[in-house]
Amino acid sequence: MLPESFTPDFLSQLELLRIRSRRAFLGSRQGGHVSPKRGHGIEFSDYRKYEAGDNPRHIDWGLYARTDRLYVKRFQEEQDLHVLIVVDTSASMGVPAEDTKWETARDIALSLAYVALMEQDSVTISALGRFHSPPFYGGRGIHALGRMLCEVKPGGGKNFETDMQQAASRVRFPGVAIVISDFLMPFGVLETWFLSLRAKNLDITAIQVLGRGDITPLENEHSALAIDSESGTEIELVMDETERRDYGVLLMQHNQLLKTYLFESRIPYALALSSQNLVDIVRGSISETGLLR
């Protein structure tokens, strides 16, 4: 069960893409990604001296003729890639509902999962605090993943760090990790998140999803009693122009801090606005990070 935005057209476009990792990871199955493992791949890797027990089929007889030494040809093995997609399901992703932040994040996750599955990669989706799916292989897995994600309603969000640590602890193979969140949380929490994933030797990409309500909150209100959707904390606010301007500056500072950290950690970052078209997000900002090719 996929969301309505997954039209055949869009799926055809996704099938042309593939997940790219910046490093080679050992896979568990044969796949389309170059593995550090030498073996029976197509692509020549290097030579090594023949040792007893090597398959004589791999001896480069031409080189032997020229040098009178036995060398064995080595090839790079092509294996699948373990793709972990971590989706933030905290309450802030669903507020305000008309911003469809959660839906955007969910669709991005499913799009990337589809791309990976179509490349015979192994895909695991971790909806923080909700579920950690088993690895799925092949295009059919997208339906199960779609069903699982569509059943999730954003909520909670009080145990960001623990949720992420639990998700990281279940990673068995290194690979690519894609974190989709609004990243509107204390910077310390964010650091914990990425450290947890980096400890698992994952090639991480961060995708930030923001809605209109995150950029210009309480747009039509002069004063309001704002209630935090996650903690329930209430604050009285008067939103005049000064406050709105201050808010814009503070949001920019927060994002700048995030981006600096990610840059220093060599974690690509992409921003997706919930108002954007999904195709534009996938083909645009996400592709620009180098995650897709």
Binding site: A91, S92, M93, V95, P96, K101, D182, L184, M185, P186, G211, G213, D214, P217, L218, E221, H222, S223, A224, L225, A226, I227, D228, S229, E230, S231, T233, E234, I235, E236, L237, V238, E243, D246, Y247, L250, L251, H254
Partner: protein
């Protein structure tokens, strides 16, 4: 409520009960205020940097503005409750009920104080309690509301003046007095001292509470039940059918809860200077709260006195609270009343000079038509008490009570039918006073002109051919119409018609034809000037007559027999009585209805210096300050 040397009050004090509720609402509103709309946002991560977060207002820590708004609210409530200030110079009316009923004494106690004495003592206490800056007017209610103080005076002077208040032979007149005082804007408070209870609030709708202007001080005697016996009427009954036979009838009322035996004494005054001579004595038993009539034969003399007292053996167990209503006087000759006869026949011809106590003037119709428009005549005292139109009908109904006897055909007012012989009576209103004592079925009407049915008149006697006797009131005058001839008046020779004639005149003049006395305070008009009057055998001061339009007018303040001396000629005696059942009734006291609050409040506002306008101004200034100091700087 005294505050800072001034006295304050509220017209609607119960509204103040709403102040705590409003304060509670203000606190609640304050707790909620400033929060604006409750909006759930994704996260306060950045928003909280703009303002300090508020977890919840668990402590009520009101800022200055709260107290400011509380002050405005309280001021508004004070305004709504109609706060007023009583000036230190409070003007009070002390009203003493000095009616006859206040002379009731108790059987208990050594001094046998009267209700009136207690009222004076209460008034004295009240006056003592008033501040020295208060101003007082002293009033007595009977016979009419009278201020004994020439102007507002200090309480001590008013206290001295209490000695001038005396019990009068008069009704209490409290209703009228209260109304008059309610309309007096110069008086802020009225304190009434009376035995009558004020109407309880439970009997009123809530919007009609008694005005705060009035305070009733109930004066009571120690006994719970005050019993009284009284003579309530006295009259001479002349037998119209037997010449010279007269009886004196005295009515006695008992306001006791048990039957009581009384002794009645009949005394006769032979002449003005002669002593009273005891003629007769009777003992009667009066039922509880009942009436009884005693009759005495009148034989000689000029005046009689009937007096009652408790029978000797009843004095220990029963009580007669008011002594002043135990005797009554009556004189045998009485003043005659003038009746105008308009018709072709003189009064003598119709035998009307035989009707006792009435004096007839005879006019022919043309005289009447000529003088009908003479307004000064009809308004003067020479105008007749009633008019008899005999076989004649004027162009319009006259401005007097009138009897129309056998109206002619084709008259402009009463369309009578054609003459019918030997009509039979079919129906009559037996309760009507016109046909009292009559055995109507034997009334013989040889000829009858049936009367029309008139919307304002009641059909008293009906016949097979139409109404024979009509009576009713039109424009406040009584009119009776007969379709048959009822004259000449022949006394006992035609008893049925004679009694009908006497009933007619009794009804038209609305007085007993021969009352034999006048009530206290009723003006007695005597033709001519120079009349002198003095009480016979009593120490009462000589009544002073007032001379107006060639008449001497006396008003007597006490019961008794008064000798009236004309400038020339023989003196005449006039009995004066005071009969008032309400004053004599000591068992059942009438409730006094005080003016409703909303009626009196309009007056109060004029005198009690309302502060609503001032409060409104203060509130406006405070709100203006709030805008300037608290609101504008934030913009």
């Amino acid at each position: 409520m005294n505050l800072f040397g001034a006295t304050f009050g509220f017209h609607w004090p119960w509204l103040l009960a709403g102040v705590p509720v409003l304060i509670g609402m203000l606190v609640y509103v304050y707790l909620r205020r400033g929060r604006g709309k409750r909006i759930i946002v994704g996260t306060l991560l950045i928003l909280k940097e703009l303002r300090r977060p508020v977890v919840a207002r668990q402590k009520f820590m009101p800022p200055f503005r709260f107290f400011f708004e509380l002050l405005v609210l309280i001021l508004l409530m004070l305004g709504a409750a109609e706060l007023y200030e009583r000036k230190a110079e409070e003007r009070t009316a002390i009203v003493i009920d000095n009616s006859l009923g206040m002379s009731a004494r108790d059987s208990l106690g050594m001094g046998r104080d009267r209700l009136f004495d207690r009222a004076i003592a209460e008034a004295e206490t009240t006056l003592r309690k008033l501040s020295s800056r208060a101003k007082v007017k002293l009033y007595e209610t009977s016979p009419s509301l009278l201020s004994l103080s020439p102007d507002f005076e200090d309480p001590d002077t008013a206290r001295e003046r209490l000695k001038e208040v005396k019990v009068r032979y008069a009704a209490d007149n409290l209703e009228t007095s209260v109304l008059r005082l309610a309309g007096d804007a110069s008086i802020e408070q009225v304190v009434i001292f009376s035995d009558r209870p004020a109407v309880s609030d439970a009997n009123r709708p809530s919007s009609k509470l008694p005005s705060s202007k009035f305070r009733m001080v109930g004066v009571r005697l120690p006994s719970t039940k005050i019993e009284n016996l009284a003579l309530t009427r006295v009259s001479i009954m002349r037998d119209p059918l037997v010449e010279g036979r007269s009886q004196l009838k005295a009515g006695i009322s008992s306001y006791a809860s048990e039957p009581v035996q009384v002794r009645l004494l009949h005394e006769v005054l032979a002449a003005a200077g002669a002593p009273l001579v005891k003629m007769d004595e009777k003992t009667l038993t009066i039922p509880a709260l009942g009436n009884e009539t005693a009759s005495f034969e009148l034989r000689a003399g000029q005046a009689s006195r009937v007096s009652l007292e408790l029978a000797e053996h009843a004095r220990d167990i029963r009580h007669d609270a008011i002594d002043e209503d135990n005797s009554a006087w009556i004189t045998y000759q009485s003043s005659s009343m003038k009746i105008l006869l308009v018709g072709q026949y003189a009064a003598q011809t119709l035998g009307l000079q035989q009707v006792p106590a009435l004096h007839f003037d005879s006019w022919i119709p043309s005289d009447f038509e000529r003088r009908a428009a003479d307004a000064p005549y009809w308004q003067s005292d020479r105008a007749p008490a009633a008019i008899v139109f005999h076989r004649y009908v004027p162009p319009a109904f006259p401005p007097r009570n009138a009897l129309f006897v056998l109206p002619p055909a084709n008259n402009p007012l009463i369309a009578v039918g054609a003459e019918v012989h030997n009509a039979e009576i079919t129906r009559w209103v037996s309760a009507h006073p016109l046909i009292a004592y009559l055995n109507l079925p034997v009334l013989n009407m040889p000829s009858l002109q049936p009367l029309p049915r008139l919307p304002w008149a009641q059909e008293i006697v009906s016949t097979t051919v139409g109404p024979a006797l009509l009576a009713g009131e039109l424009n406040t005058h009584r009119y009776a119409i007969t379709g048959f001839e009822m004259f000449p008046y022949e006394g006992k020779n035609r008893p049925l018609l004679s009694i009908l004639t006497l009933n007619m005149f009794r009804w038209l003049t609305d007085l007993p034809l021969e009352s034999g006395f006048i009530q206290v305070h009723t003006p007695l008009k005597l033709e001519g000037t120079g009349w002198k009057a003095q009480y016979v055998g009593a120490a009462n001061p000589a009544p002073q007559g007032r001379e107006e339009n060639g008449q001497t007018i006396f008003s007597f303040e006490a019961p008794g027999v008064v000798q009236l001396n004309p400038p020339s000629g023989a003196p005449v005696l006039q009995a004066v009585n005071f009969f008032n059942e309400q004053e004599s009734n000591t068992l059942v006291l009438r409730e006094l209805t005080l003016p409703a609050g909303d009626n009196a409040s309009a007056e109060d506002r004029q005198t009690q210096h309302p502060l609503s306008a001032l409060l409104a101004m203060v509130v406006l200034v405070l709100l203006g300050l709030e805008i300037i100091v608290l609101v504008l700087p934030k913009r």
